[in-house]
């Protein structure tokens, strides 16, 4: 009857952050066969790098742990880390995907005992802390890493350092001969949960990120507040001084035709949340100032906005900062601009400036299958043939809560594709 022949009942989920984990779990728990491919050595994505969630100020580790428990117990789910999609061909219900698996140099014998890390002395910038500190070149990505298995950085493979790691392992888990592998698979539907990355703050020239000391991004500040972060949870500047007077600049890259044209939607809430990190660290002595165009605390978050407004340590200045200068004597950045409530010119000095950087799709600039449709900001709208879907922050700038909703929706659409092609085949 029909020309359409399904060749696979499997769903491929690309990206193992909160959206990818959710999409994969929802489908697997519906009884579908799912492959979850993650580029990095661990699942968790950027969610695992958050200190606290807004608006409840709870820790992401809690929800991650629940998801990891669901993952471990599900026989329908196959997880592939250090895996990237190299190519996708075919059409809805009948895709052929080529996956490239990078070598971890550590096999499944690893018990995460840490002996290899202790043996090695070479260090690399810590990816879990946005390179703010350094870790050993044989490392566990972070405390919540899944799989709980060490990684050997390729920079020490083929060096005496690599041999040290191998010699230290009591379980024969270090395998320095691992090679990159290419795997070809048949899948019926693909969910792209490729997530986001912080916009490159150095492109916002007047803010001097990378040029002016003590100007950091919001994701870096998030790590600074975390006890597992580079400063052990203290809000310390590069010169060792405690930052008590912190400025937050909203729309750093977002809502700007010269940078990201979309509103990244999470940054207002993220900065409101981060003012509470200053309070947590410094108490009443702390001082946060939010420079904003307008605060976009969407729907129920208005309550959180109001509670922060009532906090006497937090001040709001309605103005997009025009430029940042530097006071050599104090080491403080100086914010210049004109406010919109009275048009007063200001030159305000702060200990630390946090740029609330926008969300850019991780796939911006990456060559995706022809079939994928992107919007003007490179977020994934879907596919022409209807068999591939965007989920979470890959589809739209979303917070964790909404990313999970989006992922569940994408998962349902993927299941529909599998069922439709299966029923066509049966007929």
């Amino acid at each position: 009857m029909s020309a359409s022949i399904a060749t696979s009942q499997t769903i491929l989920v690309v990206g193992g952050g909160i959206s990818g984990m959710t999409a994969a779990l929802e489908a697997a728990e519906c009884g579908q066969q799912v492959i979850l491919a993650e580029k990095l050595p661990t699942l968790g994505g950027r969610t695992a790098l958050l200190y606290r969630y807004f608006p409840k100020m709870c820790h992401p580790t809690c929800g991650l742990e629940i998801n990891l428990k669901r993952l471990k117990g599900n026989p329908n789910l196959r997880i592939m880390t250090m895996t990237e999609v190299a190519a996708v061909s075919g059409t809805r219900g009948d895709y052929t995907v080529t996956l490239k698996v990078k070598p971890r140099y550590v096999n499944e014998n690893c018990t995460a005992c840490g002996d290899c890390g202790n043996a090695v002395s070479a260090q690399i910038p810590n990816p879990a802390n946005y390179g703010l500190d350094r870790i050993k070149a044989a490392y566990l990505p972070h405390g919540m890493a899944y799989p709980q298995r060490y990684v050997i950085d390729p920079s020490i493979v083929g060096t005496p350092e690599g041999e040290k790691a191998k010699a230290a392992c009591k379980f024969g888990a270090v395998d320095l001969g691992m090679q990159e592998e290419t795997v070809e698979l048949k899948v019926g539907s693909v969910v792209w949960a490729t997530g986001w990355r912080p916009y490159d703050a150095a492109k916002i020239q007047p803010y001097g990120y990378g040029r002016i000391p003590n100007v950091v991004t919001s994701v870096e500040f998030e790590r600074m507040a975390d006890p597992h972060g580079p400063t052990g949870g203290k809000l310390l500047r590069a010169d060792g001084k405690e930052a008590k007077n912190v400025a937050f600049i909203q729309c750093a890259g977002s809502r700007d035709e010269n940078h990201l044209r979309h509103c990244s939607r999470i940054c207002c809430m993220a900065s409101l949340k981060q003012t509470q990190y200053v309070r947590e660290a410094c108490g009443e002595e702390g001082k946060s100032t939010i420079y904003y165009i307008d605060i976009r605390a969407i729907d129920r978050f208005e309550d959180f906005y109001q509670s922060v407004q009532n906090d006497p340590t937090v001040t709001f200045v309605k103005s997009k900062v025009a430029r940042i200068a530097f006071n050599e004597e104090t080491g403080n950045p100086v914010l210049h601009g004109v406010d919109t409530e009275g048009y007063h010119r200001y030159a305000a000095e702060h200990d630390l400036v946090v740029l609330a950087v926008g969300m850019e799709p991780e796939v911006a600039g990456v060559k995706l299958p022809e079939d994928i449709v992107l919007d003007s900001s490179n977020f994934i709208e879907g596919s022409r043939s209807g068999g591939m879907f965007g989920a979470g922050a890959a589809a739209s700038p979303l917070d964790v809560n909404r990313a999970v909703q989006s992922a569940t929706a994408a998962s349902l659409r993927a299941i529909q594709v599998i069922h439709k092609t299966a029923s066509t085949e049966a007929a």
């Binding site: 035709e257 940078h259 997009k320 025009a322 004109v338 919109t340 048009y343």
Partner: protein
């Protein structure tokens, strides 16, 4: 003006219709980057951001009699930085020109006076006569001040004459474009087009 008339005021509409690039004014989101980026910002009574808000609030007299837009030096920093890509420099010049044509621009504003003298000099023969233009500038504040200005600039003037950069004979009418009639017709046509666009056509 009655209260009802105040509310019916549509200065934004007037600006959108008659001022060059005026249709961009409603796109301003009041972020303040233009005001903060302007190198002469502290010399302005109203930075661009405030002017745009005043236009939207219908403050016709205050905007058109302001000297703020006359302070713009066309450095284009605001255009480069504006997150919504408003052609702010051009809007400033558009507003200044509109206020000038309505006769509401501030009297004695130096930019306005200089620009007027320059234009009047230029359209006489299609070329700027530097000698008469300089003299017009010297004498704009009266005869005595004019003599003082001329004496102050004497050395520069003589230097220019010696270097053949200034011809004293230009005082007797000076040079111009070849096709005087064509030039006049062109200016007339341009004036008609501009009058139509800016709402001054009779």
């Amino acid at each position: 003006m009655t209260t009802a008339m105040k509310y019916r005021n549509d200065f934004l509409g007037e600006v959108e219709k008659n001022v060059e690039e005026g249709h961009w004014v409603r796109m301003c989101m009041q972020c303040g980057v233009c005001a903060g980026s302007c190198p002469l910002g502290n010399a302005w009574a109203h930075p661009p951001q405030e002017l745009f808000m005043m236009i939207r609030a219908g403050k016709r007299e205050e905007v058109l009699s302001s000297d703020s837009m006359w302070m713009c030096t066309s450095c284009y920093n605001c255009i480069v930085r504006c997150p919504r890509k408003l052609p702010i420099t051009h809007i400033m010049h558009g507003l200044a020109n509109y206020a000038h044509r309505l006769g509401l621009a501030p009297k004695g504003q130096p930019t306005r006076e200089t620009a007027t003298l320059f234009w009047n000099n230029l359209i006489k023969k299609g070329r700027v006569n530097e000698l008469t233009f300089s003299l017009a500038l010297y004498f704009k504040d009266g005869f005595v001040q004019g003599i003082k200005n001329a004496l102050n600039m004497q050395a520069v003037g003589l230097g220019l004459v010696k270097a053949k950069r200034l011809n004293p004979m230009e005082l007797l009418g000076g040079h111009g474009v070849k096709d005087q009639a064509g030039f006049k017709a062109m200016i007339e046509k341009a004036r008609q087009i501009e009058d139509r666009k800016k709402g001054f056509a009779k």
